[in-house]
């Protein structure tokens, strides 16, 4: 336990800013989670592993001498096809079934991805150095790497583009119609199978963007996927499906929480704190709802 963070206010400012920048990234991943949950009614445990895969694409570009920031363009394109392929192979068989089937099946995919990435890229913790330097605020009391600011900016940009795309384009409208009522959409001539494939592809592409940004700002490792899944699940259940400002806000809240947990409890308990927070949120909501004799649906 370390309470330095309360004695020196600048550390709190640092933690808050770090947390907010980190939280914007989480919100981007959570948006993908909310999209597929809302449209296809599946929970994708492999979400975090798609993120890490996107990170490795950027890292590889870095290894071959291309600036990793281009990964933000390349990773979503590759990941879109990975997502569509995954949908065609596995996900289309779990869409209409029990949610637990989708959880377990994607858990299998997650284990598979973890191990394949471990073979392909090795078990080292890596990061793609963007060389963006750092910004100093408040007489150098707060240090912000420019890469974090860059990643937050790109995340917001992608989120805005996606929202506009969902509102205006034909496919976006088809996706929203399927989310509202898949059967009615089918009757009205929407090819739901195609919509599902596109939704999963878009989700994977979002994960790819987030992963590329994470490989620039933080570190990636083949086994680091599950915490990202849990974070995005947590953000979605706090914000609710289809509530975009809520997703952004709770993402930032989670980021700030994590930074403070990191300072106060120590880095070794960081992931543990995230998972415990999930349990606490669920327990809190369960007791709150059970007073009205309801439960989380």
């Amino acid at each position: 336990m370390d309470f330095m963070v309360f004695q020196y206010p600048m550390i709190s400012v640092q933690a808050c800013l770090d947390g907010i920048l980190l939280g914007i990234l989480f919100a981007l991943i959570a948006y993908g989670m909310a999209l597929q949950w809302g449209v296809m009614n599946i929970i994708n445990i492999a979400q975090g592993d798609l993120v890490i895969l996107g990170g490795y694409i950027a890292y590889f570009m870095y290894l071959y001498g291309i600036h990793p920031a281009w990964g933000v363009i390349v990773a979503p394109i590759i990941m879109y096809f990975v997502g569509v392929g995954l949908y065609k192979l596995v996900i289309n068989k779990v869409v209409d079934r029990d949610l637990f089937i989708s959880i377990l099946a994607t858990f299998g995919i997650s284990i598979l991805f973890m191990q394949l990435m471990n073979f392909a890229f090795g078990a080292d913790v890596v990061l793609a150095n963007s060389g963006y330097g750092t910004t100093f605020l408040f007489d150098s009391a707060v240090v912000l790497p420019n890469s974090k600011i860059f990643s937050a900016f790109i995340s917001i940009l992608f989120a805005i583009c996606l929202v506009i795309y969902m509102k205006k384009s034909k496919l976006g409208r088809a996706i929203r119609a399927t989310a509202q009522n898949a059967r009615a959409a089918k009757i009205l001539g929407v090819d739901t199978e195609k919509v599902y494939a596109a939704t999963f592809g878009i989700n994977a592409a979002l994960c790819g963007v987030a992963g590329a940004l994470i490989s620039i700002t933080f570190t990636i490792h083949p086994y680091m996927g599950l915490p990202y899944t849990i974070r995005s699940f947590m953000i979605v259940i706090v914000a609710g499906l289809g509530n975009l400002p809520g997703v952004a806000l709770s993402g930032m809240g989670l980021g700030v929480f994590e930074e403070f947990a990191d300072y106060i409890l120590g880095t070794e308990f960081r992931i543990g704190a995230v998972f415990l927070l999930l349990v606490l949120i669920l327990v809190y909501r369960r007791f709150k709802l059970s007073r009205k004799r309801e439960y989380l649906k």
Binding site: I103, A105, G108, S110, E268, I271, V279, V283, S290, Y295
Partner: protein, 349 residues
Amino acid sequence: MNKNLILYVAILFFGITAPFIFPAFKVQLSILCILIVLALTWNIQGGEMGYNTFGNILFYGLGMYLCASVQVGMFFPLAEWTESGGEKTFVHTPAQFFQGMAVGLVVAAVIPTIVAGLIGYAILGLRGHYFAICTLGLGVAAGEISGGIEIIGAGQGFTTPPFPDVGGLESRGEFFYFLSFGVLVLTFIAVRAIYSTRFKLILNAIRDNEDKAEAMGIQTMKYKIIGWMISAFFCGLAGGIMGGLVGYIDSTDVAFDGREMGVFMVLMAILGGKGTLWGPVIGATVFHIFKEGFWTFFLGWQYVALGVLIVVIVIYFPEGIMGWLREKFPERFGETIDEKDRKAQVELK
């Protein structure tokens, strides 16, 4: 009934003689017993109650740590035992080892049961996938947190007391085999007894429609908690034995190993057929044989194989072996098919 009795006696006979028939596979057979126990207890939640949990690993890991801690802590200072580096100068005498093991197993069974009651009260009100994800989070959180606690070895793990030098080289394997086989028999008898009472019907009612079960006046919460506590009791015991058998406890790779043991128990129960008494037993046996084959011949690729196996079983084989048998030979399961229906079916074919 008579036929069943012969079957049980044959299995019991095989179980007792197995370590002498296959002396080279004693450790594997012990692990098989533990796996069957875990699958049987998972089935109480996942199969009968309809609460798909990833959290039974919590009790398994807790039992493992508790048993080893008690076994060491009864005779030596625990902190010095788990301290890294330096030669371990503490040696358990045979009497100390067995006493410690006995007390440790009791603690390893009782405390997880209590923990299950408390946690169950908090989270068993969640339903469906929320419960599944919540228990998944609990398991991972337990692993991460126990990996940061110094007194139980933190990141570098916890070496359990070595087996004392009694009765020759073979005695260690035999001791652990009979211990785990004993727990297996105990679990099977307990689960079978539970399944023959009204308790099972209540669990099934919860699975089929919890709201209606509640409307019928069943205190569903109470029965859900009791069901989870029963699972936790045997999971804790299994964990305690497994800790001694492996000889080394690591927080995320051995004890709270959600990626392996936590998924295995779900997979075994589904492979065998959930919601049946014999399904988990058959599933665990088949799975263990497959797993050992994979682990031996595809070393390094085992997780890839595991991932593919999960996807294939879940998508193409969700009814499991027992479900398949039931469809194939309905008469064996006490289902009578009307002659007229049978004729209609034959005509359809």
